[in-house]
Symmetry: C2
Subunit: 195 residues, 2 copies
Amino acid sequence: MARKTGSHSQITGPKVRQAASKLFARHGFAAVSMRQIASEVGVQAGALYLYTPDKQSLLFDLMQGHMQDLLTAWEAQEKGRGPLEQLEAFVRFHIGFHLDRPDAVFIAYMELRNLSDENFAVIEGLRKRYEDVLESILREGQQAGVFAVPDTKLAMMALIAMLTGVNTWYREGGRLSRDKVEAIYWDMARKAVAA
Amino acid sequence: MARKTGSHSQITGPKVRQAASKLFARHGFAAVSMRQIASEVGVQAGALYLYTPDKQSLLFDLMQGHMQDLLTAWEAQEKGRGPLEQLEAFVRFHIGFHLDRPDAVFIAYMELRNLSDENFAVIEGLRKRYEDVLESILREGQQAGVFAVPDTKLAMMALIAMLTGVNTWYREGGRLSRDKVEAIYWDMARKAVAA
DNA sequence: GTCTATAAGGTGATAGAC
DNA sequence: GTCTATCACCTTATAGAC
């Protein structure tokens, strides 16, 4: 049988991040105390500092991990050949990836202002890399005459805002399946930038 | 000459709301203390309680005022006759109104989770009334055969997210004028829902 | 109308026992 | 690896002086 007190470093570490993610998403970084996180994990507050140097690092690790997962997942994605196929792949990928991890997405969008200056710069760099993926697709399609976007940066911003917005209203088991939602958004995105 | 201590109730009240709006938008409701707000206004913390019963009410009044301004401004707006003219009016109105008050918009979107349950219900009701404006335009256009939106609720959500997203990147005096931005977004919105 | 002082309690982070 | 105890400080909100 297990001891009441013992070695759990390989279990407690992930549990700390998971608890922080859940609580930061629900109540916001500033409103959550280290004691609340510890209570969710099932340890005392002091024990958290074995897994993070401070609260700020906990937030940064969560956000950096999320952005890196996003970029890695896109790179591993099957992409079509032409701009139209690539845009469809991006739209479906973005919606699916974001719906899979609502807490991480919420934190990544809401807690930027609670990052230290240095940490903010890192996260912004990763975000820019992701935005460049979509902007490149749009630029390529524009040059090929498949899209008619007078400004690729604006079109990129408009599409990303539209797609990420799904997270604010979609509920699993609701009126529409994920696939149906992806199809409807792909239809709107396609038409919005069509030549 | 003015006394150091005197009667300023008609000046201090608005200053408190303005300071709170600025600080909540920059740092978040939970991260801002009553002492910080007082310091921004130029009074001591205790004096704030002459103008608000508590911190929660300060947040609620800001958000409720913003949502009521939004609905009032839309009702005072010139609208076109057909669905297409009405959609153009909505797109341009939404972008313009939101760019005019970035702090209030930021708070309205970011601080919902810091409202008490009762206050949240009130704000959600006002938000729903605004969403209904756009959904009605889309439904009317769908029935008239001007729009092709398989689901008016989804199209409404997609368009509002897209339009509100302008606030995240637009900077006064930047590369594009407000009117140019409105024109480009109107072009994308129109095409996205076009028949 | 605003101030100072204070109540009652929460905060992030660390030290040392086990 | 985790706990308890603690430090120094900040929090919202109120009472009473001016």
